[in-house]
Every structure is written in C-alpha cells, then in structure tokens.
Amino acid sequence: MGKSILVIEDDKEIRQTLVDVLEDEGYEVYSAENGEEGLKLLNEVSELPCLIIVDLMMPVLDGVGFRKEQIKSIKFSAVPTVLFSANGQISQKALTAGYSEYIRKPIDLEQLFEITQRYCG
C-alpha cells in the first residue's frame, strides 16, 4: 500500500484542515464529503490508501453506512479505517459499526500523526 490517506468528512473546515496538515506531513490526501463519495473514490484510485479517516455524522451516507459498505468488499475491508467524531458515544458507535479504532474531535496533531505513522509509516 502507498502513502495515501482518504479523508471522508462533511464539514468543509475540518476536511480542508485535515488535508492541509496531512499533506504537510508528506502524505497524498484524497477527500470526500460523504460516505458515498468516499466509496466512489476508493473504486477510482489505482492504489488503495494506507488509511481511511471517516466522520460519523454525514448526510447521504454516514460513517456507519460507509463501514457497512466497505466491509462488503474484501479488497476495501483490508484498509485500516478509523472513525472520527465529536459524538459523545463515539466508542460505542465505533464498536457497533465495526471500527477497530476511533479518534475523538477535537484531536491533537501528535495523536493524529501517531496513528498515520502506525498505519502508513
């Protein structure tokens, strides 16, 4: 897997900031506004990302729905995916939706980079 990261987040400010700070770290970053666009991007890219960061609450297809679709595909389900939300019950939401890891908003950059380094080097 390459060094690209997929960010799926409906809030424009958060999405752009994630793109900026991850690019600053040298990753190639794709971004999508909702789960549906995210799935579309996964189908389009030539090389799968090393990490997907998914917001929980989004219109059209939310974080729960995205994960459901993602794990239907053996190929996509192999990509490490973390849930990213300000929701108070994020740990439980992550568990029931089948995420192995979650990040609570707001996040420290150090914490973010620890995760990206763990999965993407």
Binding site: D11, Q16, D24, M57, A86, P106, L109
Partner: protein, 518 residues
C-alpha cells in the same frame, strides 16, 4: 245433728284465708274465726260484742256506710263490695266483703254472715299494672321523634302517637281505622308492597325497610320502618306494631356523601392522569434536554477541531520555519479557517444566550427605521462565499424599498437564519428570496427546492432544540427557527411554513411596518 253442727263450726273456725263471722241484726259481732283474726288482727275475745263498724274507715262510718250495707243485705239478700278496711293496728287493707242476711223459719232476721277476703296484694299488683300501663301509654303517646302505631291484623290503624302525627301529619281521629297503605307511594301500593310487608312480618315476626313514604300533604319522606307482629297466647297474629322514623336528612346526607365520594374518586383519577401526563412531559423534557446537551457539545467541538489542528500546525511550522509548506497561501488558509471557526463558536454561543434570554423573557428590541431590502442585499453579499460552496443560486425578487421600523440586529439574525436553512436543506438547488409590502406589513419569502419537511413536523420545527429526526446528520443546535419565530413574534409578526418532502420549503415572514406595542 249436733255433731254435724259442731263439725261445721270447727270447719268455719279453721278457715284461714277468709274472715268469716256473724253479726246480730244491729251489727254487733257474735262469732269470729281464725281467718278473721288473721286478716283483722283481733282475737275473738277482743272483738265479740263489738260493733262491726270498727273495721271501717272513719269517713265510711261518718256516712253511715256500715249500716247501709246491712240494710241493703237485708233488703236484697246479699251485699258485696270491695273497699278499704281497717286492721286492729290501724293499717288499711283492700278487702272483698260479702254480707248475707240470716233468717229463721218465720223469715225473721236473726243476724248477718260476713265473709271478708284480704285483697291487698291483688290490689297492689293491679294498681302497679294499671300505673305501668298508664306510663307505657303516656310514653308511647308522647314519643315525638318516632311514629309508634299499632295496626290491627287487617292493616287498619289502631293507635296513633305524637310522633306519628308529627311525621305523617294526621290527627288521630283522621287516621284511626284507615288502611295503612295511605302512607305508601301509589306505585308501592299497586305493587302490593303493604300486603307483602304484613305477610313477611306475620311469617318471620318482623319486617324492616327503608324507603319513601307519603305524608298527609302529599310530600314524601325517606323512612326507616320496622313492623313487628303481635300474637295472642295461642300464637295468632292479632295486630302489628309499626315504628317509623323520618331519616330524610340522614338519607340526604348519605346521598351527598356518596356523591362527594364519587366526585372525589373521579377527581383523584383525573389528577392521577394529569400527574402521569405531567410526569411523561417531564421525562420528555429531560430527554430533550439531554439530547440537546449532546448536540450542543458536538456542535461546539466541530469548529474547535480545525481551530486546534490549525493552531498546532502553525506552531509546528514556526518551530521549523524553514518548512517548504510555510508559504503565504497556507498561512492565509490557516488564519481564514481559524477566523471562521471562531465565528462559528461565537454564533453558537450567541444562539445559546438568545435562548436563555427568551426563556427569561428578556428578549428586548431596539427599534430603528430602515429599508429591509437593503438589509437583505447586505446579507446575501455576506453569505456569497457560502452560497457558492453549496452550489445553489439565490434570486432576489423585491420591491424597490420596504421601509419600516424594526430591530436591525434581530431581523438580520432572522434573515441570515432563514437563508442558512435554505442553503443547508436546499440540496444545492435554486433559492428564491422575495420581499414586498402588503397592507401595513412587510412580507418576506425564502423558498428552496430541497428535501422539504413532512406535514407532521411543521409545528415541531419551531420548538426549542428540535430538528427533524431524519436530518440528525446535518449539523446545528436546533435553535435557529425557535429564535427566529420568537424575534418575529416580538415584532408583532408571524412566520409560516409551506413544505412537502422532496418538493422544497417556503418560509413566509409577515412583520408590521410600524412599531408594535402590546
């Protein structure tokens, strides 16, 4: 013959229960027996030769009663009476006296035989019985609160007391001899209640009842009735005693009490329902509050997320100032993001403060006169960046000016809110804003062609902390339309929604052009 006379004399002498003695034609005592001694107290030797008037009360002697007795006996062959007599010791006793004249063969009066019985004991018990009957009768008659009457075996009235007169209104002479059905309501009489009661009393000894009875004047009273059969020594029913009480007041009090009790039960039931309902509402209020707190914390964290990342990123860049990413474009984006995040936080806090002001009734308006068209144009300019990013276009259809007196800051808030809603739920489709005057009102329409609102949600969206359930993935505190309506109504205006799911939404605001005072 002599022997027989002697035997007879001995017999007379030995009789103890009767005083038997002979007196001569003038009334002097000639013989005396044991019974006379026992009854009168004199021994034979004390009394023989005395005039028999010594046994009489002085007043009887004075009126010559003893002599009269002898004359009647002589004339009629017998004299009998009951009367007071005197003993030797001066005490009185009630006696039965029989005097028979004794005549010889020539019908010549030779004396009198006098038989005396002491009836004192009988007299006393008779007297007692008479007194007790008199007392009973007086008591019976005098009872005022109870009707105590006797019925003959055929149900006709035999006796009547004061209580019966008071309760039923009849004088004794009006009612004695009348059939007792006269006291019953017509319907009871027709049903044979009277006969049934007497039959029941005859068979079981008594009949007890509570029910309506009729007075002489036709009015009814609620009676407690007890009928008891009276039997002779052979067990035959010879009549009935009937005790009646007027318990109308008691009945009325009981009825009132029953009604009050039923009413109380009903009120308790109602109150319980109210409490259950209130409890439900309170639980719902708690749920809404908890949900709001969860939404509010989510909403506040959202702008904090880029703010924190941007600032940390900036700090990192400052540390390694040689970073190639540290260029003007990047710094510009950083500061813009920070600025917008701070504005968002600020606006969220403003909304929270507004709600708290409204709750405390402290939403006050500062009136000034200005053109609403100009305000709308300013807002559209300010939101241009946001409009473009949603992909929608906004068309303004307006009269040249709509000038009136309003709170500038508050109406700016209203229009910005409605525009933001149209952008948020407008699905990127064209939006129309229309503003015009009608009568003395400014009319503003915000029309989008977006997801729309189901009919059943049209009222709820204006409530505090409410958003449409299906749209929980779209951010917002759920306070915007609540605050909007409060501001519009404070101006004396109104806001209405017209929407169908999938067909878009139109909000119409009507605000009076002149200052509203209530």
């Amino acid at each position: 013959m002599i022997a027989a006379e002697e035997k007879f004399s001995l017999l007379v002498d030995s009789v103890r229960d009767y005083g038997i003695f002979l007196i001569d034609p003038e009334g002097f005592i000639v013989s005396w027996n044991t019974g006379a001694e026992r009854i009168n107290g004199y021994r034979a030797e004390e009394v023989i030769g005395k005039h028999f008037s010594i046994f009489y009360l002085p007043e009887d002697v004075a009126r010559n009663h003893p002599q009269n007795e002898l004359e009647i006996a002589a004339k009629e062959g017998r004299y009998e009476e009951e009367g007071w007599r005197l003993r030797k010791n001066g005490t009185k006793f009630w006696s039965n006296v029989v005097i028979n004249p004794m005549r010889d063969k020539n019908n010549h009066l030779v004396g009198f035989a006098k038989v005396t019985r002491d009836l004192s004991e009988r007299k006393v018990s008779e007297e007692r019985l008479r007194e007790s009957e008199e007392r009973a009768r007086k008591m019976f008659e005098g009872v005022k609160d109870y009707s105590l009457i006797m019925l003959n075996a055929d149900g006709t009235v035999a006796t009547w007391n004061e209580g019966a007169r008071r309760i039923k209104g009849y004088e004794p002479n009006e009612i004695i001899g009348k059939y007792f059905a006269i006291f019953y309501p017509e319907q009871d009489v027709q049903m044979g209640k009277c006969e049934y009661e007497l039959k029941e009393a005859s068979e079981t000894g008594r009949f007890e009842d509570e029910g309506w009875r009729v007075r002489k004047d036709g009015t009814k009273f609620w009676a407690s009735v007890l009928i008891t059969a009276i039997r002779n020594d052979h067990g035959k029913v010879i009549g009935f005693s009937k005790v009646t009480r007027d318990i109308t007041d008691k009945k009325r009090a009981e009825d009132l009490l029953k009604m009050a009790y039923a009413n109380l039960e009903k009120r308790v039931e109602e109150r319980t329902q109210q409490l259950i309902e209130t409890n439900k509402q309170l639980q719902e209020a708690v749920r809404v509050r908890d949900e709001f707190l969860s939404i509010a914390s989510h909403e506040l964290r959202t702008p904090l997320t880029p703010l924190k990342m941007q600032i940390q990123s900036l700090m990192k860049m400052i540390q390694k100032s040689t970073s190639p990413n540290f260029n003007d474009e990047r710094v510009k984006r950083m500061s813009q993001t920070c600025e917008r995040s701070v504005s968002r936080l600020n606006s969220l806090l403003d909304n929270l403060l507004d709600v708290s002001r409204i709750n405390l009734g402290k939403l006050s308006l500062t009136y000034e006169t200005f053109d609403l068209v100009e305000l709308i144009k300013n807002i559209l300019d300010r939101y241009e960046h946001e409009i473009v990013s949603t992909g929608s276009t906004v068309t303004l259809e307006n009269e040249k000016t709509v000038i009136g007196t309003f709170d500038h800051i508050r109406l700016e808030q209203v229009f910005a809110n409605l525009l933001q809603n149209a952008l948020k739920y407008g699905s990127g489709k064209p939006i129309t804003v229309r503003i015009y005057k009608q009568d003395n009102f400014a009319i503003l329409l915000f029309q989008d062609l977006g997801i729309g609102i189901p009919k059943e949600e049209h009222e709820r969206i204006f409530k505090r902390f409410e958003r449409i359930e299906s749209n929980t993935n779209i951010g917002g505190l759920g306070l915007g339309l609540f605050i909007t309506r409060q501001i519009v109504e404070a101006h004396g205006g109104s806001i209405a929604v017209d929407s169908k799911p999938g067909m878009g939404t139109t909000f119409t605001v009507r605000i009076p052009l002149t200052r509203f005072s209530n």
